[in-house]
Symmetry: C2
Subunit: 318 residues, 2 copies
């Protein structure tokens, strides 16, 4: 079996990988389209330890498993919790300490001819939804985690910091909530995609300083973006940390205390509303696709995704 394999910071296309056996509660999925995420690039850069097949964004067809799923087009949640520990029993399976995570923690990922996932992680893709839309379900669900965590009423003034893959999806989700929204970015081309959707954008970080925002969502993944988000917030405002960071973040903690800022870490989100928004067309992410590679060109696809200014890179197993 072919797969994009990460070992000690090196990504290679291997064709000698075992396909593995399907356990009782699992299915085998043959992916039809794959998405490269910033986390894949961070794993490659060694920010987190992982050895194995990369990849956690996919749409595919179930080719082995229970009858109920056989032949179905699916997307799938990436956390596989143990189901028995206290967090699992309390409904916090996403935070199960024993969990595996597809292509991230203790479980081979989807950048392969086939891969395994628990059947309970699956969501069936409605007929007629293009793979180029449904492949965005996982990152769109992550963006939809935000309205689960904080109140977003039309009176809320939101700033999204970052115009990349994550910022684009977050902005589209917030825009649907009718909040007062501005996106701070660095790339005219990327911001233009949002302007076209009627979303206000700016490249001037000085224009957003001064405490006029109730909520700032950090999607840039760097300290400069974090600082811009903080300085944009009013006292008692909320800073949502959506990006992971390479290494240590430096911040002025006293300012957080004096202004009583609330920081909220935000990770994986709900698949059902994300898939519904993609299926219904209320969010169409296809303008974010910058390139589609063959799975056999996986290492090149990852390098392309790491270039400055590149939005979504997809891979097609052919």
């Amino acid at each position: 079996m072919r797969g994009i394999y990460l070992e000690q910071g090196t990504v290679t296309l291997r064709d000698d990988l075992p396909a593995g056996d399907v356990c009782d509660d699992e299915v085998r999925i043959r992916p039809t389209l794959l998405g490269v995420c910033g986390t894949d690039l961070e794993l490659k850069a060694g920010y987190y330890p992982f050895t194995g097949v990369l990849g956690h964004e996919f749409v595919g067809v179930v080719e082995e498993g229970p009858d109920r799923w056989l032949g179905k087009k699916v997307v799938g949640e990436i956390n596989a919790p143990c189901g028995h520990c206290l967090p699992c029993q309390a409904g916090r399976g996403h935070h199960c300490p024993e969990r595996t995570v597809l292509g991230i923690v203790g479980r081979d990922g989807c950048f392969a001819d086939s891969f395994l996932l628990p059947a309970r992680n699956l969501h069936e893709v409605p007929d007629g939804v293009p793979d180029e839309c449904s492949v965005f379900t996982e990152p769109l669900a992550a963006a939809m985690r935000i309205p689960e965590q904080i109140d977003l009423t039309p009176a809320v003034r939101c700033l999204v910091v970052g115009d990349g893959r994550l910022g684009q999806l977050v902005a589209r989700v917030l825009s649907r909530h009718g909040v007062s929204l501005t996106v701070l970015g660095r790339h005219e081309r990327k911001l233009a995609l949002l302007t076209r959707l009627g979303i206000e954008t700016t490249t001037d970080s000085r224009a957003v300083v001064g405490g006029q925002y109730d909520v700032a969502i950090e999607c840039s993944g760097n300290s400069t973006g974090f600082e811009a988000a903080r300085q944009a917030l009013r006292p008692l405002g909320t800073l949502v940390m959506k990006s992971t960071y390479a290494g240590q973040l430096q911040c002025d903690a006293s300012a957080l205390v004096v202004d009583e800022i609330e920081l909220v870490g935000s990770r994986c989100g709900p698949f059902a509303p994300a898939l519904a928004a993609l299926a219904g067309g209320s969010i169409d992410p296809r303008d974010l696709i910058d390139a589609v590679y063959d799975l056999g060109e996986g290492p090149a696809a990852l390098s392309r995704a790491a270039e400055v200014g590149v939005l979504k890179v997809l891979m097609r197993p052919s």
Copy 2:
């Protein structure tokens, strides 16, 4: 008039200070007992710019102002908001950008023979409450900010990091809420004060690692304490930042995102319940008093308060 004056990092006792004029909405207060706070020491160390009379913890007698207040024993809130701006109109006067703060921002403090404060900031001290108790109203109110910000039910497992002035008061407040409480500190003498109150304590930071706490309250003011608080939290836990920090805080922001930790900055709190707890005796902070100086020995009192292991230092204007 005498006062403990800060200018460019140097604290001096001056006897040439103007007493100032009482404006329409203000009173002049003659303090009877004063408290030294960590913030006074941070101002002296130059972490925030301030020139003028230091001090914001006091109990005293109104000697000039409206009849309603004349001769009354009072404590007072330290923020003097403008009353007109949007945050003030929205009931967030503590965060008024135009506010002055007693002995901290744009307003001479209480370490003097007398000082001025808006009459609306005053709370009358009930008869019979010792000055040695009521002088703790301001820092106790700051500790009582925490239950205003987060839910504290008996099922909540709380860790307080830090056994100093702030940690001591925070622990006593949380203990009253009946939460499951542990205090992590470094000083056996200070922890013994809490043990005597039936509060569980430890000096072993390894004993609190591993995600068994729902809420951790950082009262140590250093990065080591912050890290201990974070590592003690379960995923989706809440880290309350009660201390201000000298300089930049370094933290592993990715861990905050992956574990979806909520960080809450926490500053000034409600005077009324703090004064009520002190007056009713449900919180008696007198065991925290390590020394009482004469106001004329102010610089020595501040040096003493800065020594490792020292809890509360008071000053008496005689």
